[in-house]
Amino acid sequence: MKKAFIIVFMASAVAFAGYSISYRCATAPAESMLTKPGGEMEWLKCEYHLSDAQFARIQQLHRDYAPTCDLMCEKIAKANDKLDQLVSTNTKVTPEVAAAMKECLTAQAECREAMLGHVYAVSAEMSPQDGVRYLQMM
């Protein structure tokens, strides 16, 4: 009876180890991407089957786009702040409020245009099928 219990215990231990190891091995790549800074770029490489050359070009596009993106972000934030201030200090839609709203919309449109340009440029670097999938995702 004792031997049988030892065997059952061993089987349970093996089962526990098997579960833990298989789970860790299978989730390790995604976990590492999540914890690493810039893991989203690695994700892009995996998800869209990018070769090293394609990935290098897309990374370059990403680096070139980053300052534009930051600038747009700043512009949108400024326009939003200005509009918020004007909205809270006014009791009706003054020409200044209307201008601030237009400024917000313009900043957003510029931002969308820049982003769309970047998205098209990135998709052009991918294989046709993956490019279409990337555009659908974005």
């Binding site: 059952v8 089987a11 190891i21 299978a26 934030a77 982003m115």
Partner: protein
């Protein structure tokens, strides 16, 4: 055997009647006995299973089979569970990528 003997026997056989007397508690006792035996059998079931288990399991091929079965089931369960976790992580990375190139998201 002569004729008179044969006639006697025939007469006796004709006169013989069977009058079985079943005790009134017969049926109840039968059911009691059935229940007792069932109880004894039930009580012996688990010890018998355990005994069978312990005698069979110490055989190397059964022990190896049990360990192999546990391992395959646990690895399968681990991989299945990992699929769900990976799908969640993948979605999170997708959102992170989309946010990284979207100034509207970054401005929020």
């Amino acid at each position: 055997m002569n004729d008179s003997d044969s006639n006697d026997l025939s007469t006796k056989l004709r006169a013989w009647t069977v009058d079985p007397r079943v005790p009134t508690s017969f049926q109840r006792e039968v059911w009691q006995r059935i229940a007792q035996r069932q109880a004894v059998r039930d009580e012996a079931f688990w010890p018998r299973v355990m005994e069978w288990f312990s005698t069979q399991l110490i055989r190397p091929r059964y022990a190896v089979a049990l360990v192999a079965l546990s391992l395959s089931i646990s690895v399968g369960a681990g991989l299945l569970h990992a699929q769900d976790a990976n799908a969640r992580h993948w979605k999170e990375l997708e959102t992170r990528y989309a946010s990284s190139i979207d100034p509207l998201e970054m401005g929020r």
